[in-house]
């Protein structure tokens, strides 16, 4: 029996990042951090779309992306269920480059907004410490 999911996601409709990506990113963060477990049932597309005040297709696209990445099993009428996802043994060679590129862009954008470098560094450090080792 799946446990009720006690988690909240947040999106910013003023952001340049598309809403479906923000939703997918938020849920992926919860998955990676172990807040969501295999067997957990996510809310149906309709419910999440209504609560976030976005179109159904936006949430459906986010779920589809996560399903393609192997995180979710999409069930008709039952919504989305978290499934056990095997971490790839070897990441593609370009993954690290892409990651560093995105991280640099994020840090630059955050610094441009005025956040001190020390805060960014300590935040990155605490995030890294919180990640599961396996």
């Amino acid at each position: 029996m799946a446990q009720p999911v006690q988690a909240v996601i947040r999106i910013d409709t003023d952001s340049v990042t598309p809403a479906y990506r923000q939703i997918a990113d938020s849920i992926r963060t919860l998955l990676v951090n172990g807040v969501l477990h295999p067997g957990d049932l996510l809310p149906p597309v309709r419910q999440l779309a209504i609560d976030l005040a976005v179109h159904f297709n936006t949430v459906a696209e986010a779920y589809r992306r996560l399903a393609e990445e192997g995180w979710l099993d999409l069930k008709r009428r039952r919504g989305a269920q978290v499934i056990a996802r095997a971490t790839p043994l070897t990441a593609p060679p370009e993954s690290e480059l892409k990651f560093l590129q995105r991280l640099r862009e994020l840090v630059a954008a955050t610094r441009a907004e005025g956040l001190p470098l020390e805060t960014i560094a300590s935040s990155l450090h605490s995030i890294a410490e919180g990640l599961p080792c396996s």
Binding site: A7, I11, L41, D51, H55
Partner: protein, 349 residues
Amino acid sequence: MLVMWIVTALPLAFLCVLLFILPGLSRRSQFFAVTVPPDFRETAEALRVIRKYRIQVAAHSALATAGFLLAVAWRAPAWLVLAFLWPPAGALLAVVLAHRQALRYAVPASGVHEASLQRRPASVPGSPYLWAGPFGILGVAGAWIGAHWNEIPARFPIHWGFDNQPNGWATRSVAGVYTPLAIEAAVCLMMLFLNWQIARNSRGSTEMRKLMGRTLLVLAYLMAALFAWLSVALPLGHGAPGPINTGIIVAALAIIIGAVVVYGFRAKVDPEPGTGQATAPQPVLGAGDNTADRNWIGGLFYFNPDDSALFVEKRIGIGFELNFGNPGAWVFLGFLVLIPVAAVVLTKL
């Protein structure tokens, strides 16, 4: 006769009081459907806007009272319709004007939206057994009339004027006898459907959903009992409902509406904590209900084609508002219009 006029005057007075206190029936971060800082309500600007609104409502209420007194003096019940429609129409105008004034003090709306990942229960609020009750009452009334069919006169009165003389009649036919029950069954179905849609396709606090579900259920019982009683009493010649019975009905409705106002006020002021913005207001984030001020036309009507919700919690008043940007809202409105039209057509048969 005098008792009947007094009984009729009470709902009008009740309506005027409700319209007067309307600005208080909104969340602290919303003022006449405009997003404001939570402490804005105590400022001199806010008090000035509220004062202007209340002066207008008082003026419209006074006009309606004058119309009512004229209706009494001239023995012209048709004027009553105007007396009852005037205060809400005037209050609508006052809300639109207050909304425009309040927009000057709006805080920049945040685009941040939050939602819980907890699944909502799929069932309709209120047990299906409880919702079977009103239909059962109507069914029993129908069976009772069927069992006493031979006692029904060929023609019987169904409407009385203020002089207590009958002015409307029905005949002993299936349409003439069973139409009120059929109409009420359709109304109960509509209420059940509304309850289901609010549970399924609305965005608002859980408290407000529960309140609306319970209110619809109580109203369905009250109306089913009323229609069942009338459907049995009128064909079997028990005569006019009379001022006392009308007074009881008016009092019951007043108690229900009063309870809705009290509980609705509590749901607005003290929503349940810790369940995300979908169920609790977050003044720091701006709108607090995941809607933007620009989507509230005149502060009264919500229009957002990009929002999947069919119903959103009202920003002013208690209950839910249709999202007119959702095509489903127009289908729903069509059904709402269809029921009274069908009722009129059926009664003409």
